[in-house]
C-alpha cells in the first residue's frame, strides 16, 4: 500500500507539472497563470453545464417527468467518461513511457495498475463532477427529496465512473490484440472514434422537438436513455427508493471494474508488449523513390504527423466537421428550421447570416496549428537543422489546418447556395468570412504555440489538449467570433445585410492582418529562440 501511494504521488507531480508551480522562473509564472485560466474556464463550464441541465430539467418538468433529469445526468456522465477514457486508457495503461522504469522496480504489477487506474479515476471524477453536481442541484429544484436520496448522492458519484472506465479500458485492451496486425492502426482508431462520436451527435439531435411536444420529448428521452445505458435506469430507480435496484447498480459497477483489474494484473506485461508493438512488414522490398520539392516534402511530413496521432485528429477535425453537420441538421433535418417556421418568415439574407454564424463559430473553436510546434516534441531538432527558413516550416503547418478546414467552408457554402437563393454578395461572403476565420485561427494557433511551446510530455494528449497555447487559441477564437458577429449585428441593425457583411469582413480582415504580422515578425524570432 505504501508503494501505491508513492507511485500515485510522483505520477501526479510529474503529470500535472506541480513542481513548476513552485518555480519563480518565467515558466513557473506561466504555469500559475494556466492554473488561474483553468479555474476560470472550469467555473465557466460549470455555469454552462448548470444552464444546460436547467433547460433540460425545465422541459422534462413541463412534460410531467421532472425526475428524469437525474437519469439524463447519469447517462450523460457515462457517455462522457466512456469517450474520454477510450483514448486515455490506451496511452496510460498499455503504452505508457514509464512502463520499463516501473517494471524494473521491485513493485507488484497490481500496484502499478492500481496507481494508473486511480489516476484515471481521479481525472474522471473531476470531469464527472461538472455534469453530476449541476444535475443534483437541478433535480432538487424540480423534485422533492428525502434522506435516502441524499445518502446516495455521494456513493452514486463514486460508482458511476467505474463501469465506463472498465468498459473503455477493456476495449483498449482488446484493441491491443489486433493492432500489431493492422497496418493503419491510427486511421482505424480515428475512423472508429469518429463513427462513435457521430452516432452520439445524431442521437442527441433527435431530441430537438422540445418546444413542440414536451411530453413526447420526455418519453422519447426516457426510452432513449434506457437504451443507451441500462444501469443508469437502475441507479435512478435506486436513488428514488428501491434498495434492490441500487444494490444491483452497485454490483454492475463494481464487479466489472474489479474483474478488469484482476484480468489486467494477470496480463499486464503481455498487454504492454502488445501496446508497444507495431505492424512489421516481413517482405519489404525497396522500390524506386519519387522526389518532391521542399514544399511538398514538408506538407507530406506534416500530414503524416497529423494523421499519425488519433487524439490530434479527433481534437481538431470535430469543429469543421460539426459545421457541416449542424448546417445540414438545422436546414435539412426532420425538425429543420425550414420545416418548423412558415415559408417567407426568414429571408435568404438572414438564413445566409445564420449559416455564416454557424460556420465561424465551429471553425473558431480550434486549430491544428495550436499544438503543431509542441507536437514535434523531441524531434524538434530535425526542423531546426533543416536548410529551410522558419516561414517555409510555418507554411507546412498552416497548410494542415487549411486542408482540414477549407473543404468544409466550401461544402457548407455549396450546400447553402444549392438549397437557398442567395444574392451574389451573400454567396461571396459566405465563403470569405468563414475562410478568413480559418486563416485567423491558423495564424493565431501557430503564434501562441511558438510563444508557449510544450515539449516535456510523454503522450500526445498533453501536447494536443493540455497545452496553454491551445487554451489561448480557443479564447482567441471565441473573442474573434464575438467581434465578427458584433460587427455584423451592428451593420444589420443600422444599415443593410450587405453592410453587415462588409463590417464583419473588415473586422475579420483586421484581426487576420494582426496575427499574420505577428507570426511573420515576432513568430520567426520565437522559432529561432526555441531550444531544440
Amino acid at each position: 500500500m505504501r508503494n501505491f501511494w508513492i507511485l500515485l504521488k510522483y505520477n501526479l507531480i510529474n503529470t500535472l507539472n506541480l513542481n513548476k508551480l513552485n518555480s519563480k522562473t518565467k515558466e513557473g509564472k506561466l504555469s500559475l497563470l494556466m492554473v488561474i485560466l483553468f479555474i476560470v474556464g472550469g467555473l465557466f463550464s460549470l455555469g454552462l453545464a448548470f444552464l444546460y441541465m436547467f433547460m433540460i430539467g425545465s422541459a422534462l418538468a413541463e412534460g410531467g417527468f421532472p425526475e428524469l433529469i437525474l437519469l439524463v445526468g447519469i447517462v450523460a456522465g457515462f457517455m462522457f467518461i466512456l469517450l474520454m477514457t477510450i483514448t486515455k486508457a490506451n496511452s496510460t495503461l498499455f503504452r505508457s513511457r514509464d512502463y520499463d522504469l516501473l517494471m524494473s522496480l521491485p513493485l507488484k504489477p497490481s500496484t502499478i495498475i492500481a496507481s494508473k487506474l486511480v489516476y484515471i479515476l481521479a481525472i474522471n471524477y473531476l470531469l464527472f463532477a461538472f455534469i453530476y453536481f449541476p444535475t443534483i442541484i437541478v433535480y432538487t429544484v424540480f423534485n422533492t427529496t428525502d434522506l435516502w436520496f441524499w445518502l446516495l448522492v455521494l456513493p452514486t458519484f463514486f460508482l458511476v465512473p467505474l463501469l465506463p472506465i472498465a468498459v473503455s479500458s477493456l476495449l483498449a485492451y482488446l484493441f491491443g490484440f489486433i493492432t500489431p496486425k493492422i497496418k493503419y492502426k491510427n486511421l482505424t482508431s480515428i475512423l472508429f472514434s469518429l463513427l462513435i462520436l457521430f452516432l452520439i451527435m445524431y442521437a442527441s439531435f433527435q431530441s430537438s422537438s422540445i418546444e413542440e411536444d414536451p411530453s413526447a420529448f420526455a418519453l422519447f428521452m426516457k426510452n432513449a436513455l434506457v437504451k443507451i445505458y441500462y444501469p443508469g435506469q437502475i441507479a435512478f430507480l435506486g436513488m428514488l427508493g428501491s434498495w434492490q435496484d441500487y444494490l444491483l447498480f452497485t454490483l454492475i459497477s463494481v464487479v466489472p471494474f474489479v474483474g478488469f483489474v484482476w484480468l489486467l494484473s494477470k496480463n499486464y506485461m503481455g498487454a504492454n508488449s502488445r501496446g508497444n508493438s507495431s505492424y512489421i512488414n516481413k517482405n519489404y522490398e525497396m522500390k524506386m523513390m519519387q522526389s518532391s520539392d521542399q514544399k511538398k516534402a514538408m506538407i507530406k511530413k506534416e500530414l503524416k504527423r497529423y494523421f499519425g496521432s488519433s487524439v490530434y485528429v479527433l481534437n481538431t477535425i470535430m469543429g469543421p466537421m460539426m459545421s457541416t453537420f449542424l448546417i445540414l441538421f438545422i436546414f435539412f433535418g426532420e425538425d429543420s428550421l425550414s420545416a418548423t417556421i412558415p415559408a417567407g418568415t426568414i429571408t435568404p439574407d438572414i438564413i445566409s447570416m445564420i449559416i455564416v454564424g454557424i460556420a465561424i463559430f465551429t471553425m473558431g473553436m480550434t486549430s491544428t496549428t495550436a499544438s503543431s510546434i509542441s507536437i514535434e516534441g523531441k524531434q524538434f531538432w530535425i526542423l531546426k537543422s533543416l536548410p529551410l527558413s522558419p516561414q517555409q516550416i510555418f507554411n507546412g503547418k498552416l497548410f494542415v489546418n487549411y486542408l482540414i478546414s477549407f473543404p468544409f467552408v466550401i461544402i457548407n457554402g455549396i450546400i447553402a447556395l444549392v438549397a437557398f437563393r442567395f444574392s451574389l454578395w451573400s454567396a461571396l461572403f459566405m465563403f470569405l468570412i468563414p475562410g478568413l476565420v480559418v486563416v485567423i485561427m491558423s495564424y493565431a494557433g501557430l503564434y501562441f504555440n511558438l510563444l508557449l511551446p510544450r515539449f516535456d510530455y510523454d503522450s500526445d494528449v498533453k501536447a494536443v489538449k493540455q497545452g496553454m497555447s491551445v487554451l489561448m487559441t480557443m479564447l482567441t477564437g471565441f473573442v474573434t467570433v464575438t467581434i465578427v458577429i458584433v460587427a455584423g449585428v451592428l451593420g444589420v441593425v443600422f444599415f443593410t445585410p450587405i453592410v453587415a457583411y462588409i463590417f464583419a469582413f473588415i473586422a475579420a480582415s483586421l484581426i487576420a492582418i494582426v496575427f499574420i504580422s505577428l507570426v511573420q515578425t515576432h513568430g520567426v524570432k520565437l522559432f529561432n529562440r526555441i531550444n531544440g
Partner: protein, 237 residues
C-alpha cells in the same frame, strides 16, 4: 572549413554553458571534442549546426555565418544527435525520402545511395516499417544513412558510437575516414577516449564551457595517454 570564433552561449535560466570557445576544423580532418557530462559539448555542436541560437561570437562554414546565412550553411551540414529522435509516424524509407527532398538529392542518387548504405548497415528489410518499431541502434543507423545520402561538407556527430553494434561502429569509423579523404570534415563528441586517440587528427577538451586543451593528438597528449591527460585536466580544474 569550420571556424568557431569566441562562442558563448547562456541558457534562459542564466547558466553559461559555453564560454568564449574558439576552434578551427580544417577540410579533410576528423576533430574529436572531449569532455565529461555537462561540460558544454552538445551545446557547442548544436550551436555549430544552427539548432541553438547564441549571443556572442560567430560560427563560419567556408566563410559563411551560421547566424546570417543559416540556410546555405545547413545545406552543407549533416548532424546526428546522441539520441536520434526521428519522426516515429514515418517508415524508415519515408524519412529518408523526406530528408532527400529537403536537401534536394536527385532521384537517381537517392535510390543508389539509400540502397547502398541500407545494405551496409543491414537495415534494408526494415525500411518499410514505422520508425517507432526501431531499436535505438536501428534509429542511429537510419540517422546515419540520412546524413550520408546528402554528401555533407561538414559531418557533426554527438556521441556517434552509443547504441551501435561493433560492426556498425567499425563501419562508421571507416566512413568518417572516407568522408575526410573526399574533402569533408568530421566534428564529433565522444566519451570513448580510445576511439578519439585512434581516429582523430586533432582534439579539443572542454571543461565547464571552456577549452582547456586543443591541438593535434601529439600536442595534447605528449607522451602520455589521452585518458591520463583528460583525467589530469578534469581533476585539476
Amino acid at each position: 572549413m569550420l571556424e568557431i570564433k569566441n562562442l558563448s552561449k547562456t541558457y534562459p535560466g542564466g547558466k553559461l554553458a559555453v564560454d568564449d570557445v574558439s576552434l578551427t576544423i580544417n577540410d579533410g580532418e576528423i576533430f574529436g571534442f572531449i569532455g565529461h557530462n555537462g561540460a558544454g559539448k552538445t551545446t557547442t555542436l548544436k550551436c555549430a549546426v544552427g539548432i541553438l541560437d547564441f549571443e556572442k561570437g560567430d560560427i563560419l562554414l567556408d566563410g559563411k555565418s551560421i547566424k546570417k546565412q543559416a540556410i546555405e550553411c545547413k545545406q552543407e551540414i549533416a548532424y546526428i544527435p546522441d539520441n536520434p529522435d526521428l519522426y516515429e509516424q514515418l517508415t524508415g524509407i519515408q524519412y529518408l525520402n523526406f530528408i532527400c527532398d529537403i536537401y534536394r538529392v536527385s532521384t537517381a542518387d537517392r535510390n543508389v545511395l539509400i540502397s547502398q548504405y541500407a545494405d551496409m548497415f543491414e537495415i534494408k528489410k526494415n525500411l518499410g516499417d514505422l520508425i517507432s518499431s526501431y531499436s535505438h541502434g536501428m534509429k542511429q543507423k537510419l540517422a546515419l544513412i540520412s546524413a550520408l545520402v546528402r554528401k555533407p561538407k561538414l559531418f557533426v556527430l554527438d556521441e556517434p558510437f552509443v547504441g551501435l553494434d561493433p560492426k556498425a561502429a567499425f563501419q562508421v569509423k571507416e566512413l568518417m575516414k572516407e568522408l575526410c579523404a573526399n574533402g569533408s570534415c568530421v566534428f564529433f563528441s565522444t566519451h570513448v577516449l580510445e576511439v578519439a586517440e585512434k581516429l582523430c587528427h586533432r582534439v579539443a577538451i572542454i571543461q565547464k564551457g571552456k577549452i582547456v586543451a586543443y591541438g593535434t593528438m601529439e600536442e595534447v597528449k605528449g607522451d602520455k595517454s589521452l585518458e591520463d591527460v583528460f583525467l589530469e585536466l578534469v581533476n585539476n580544474a
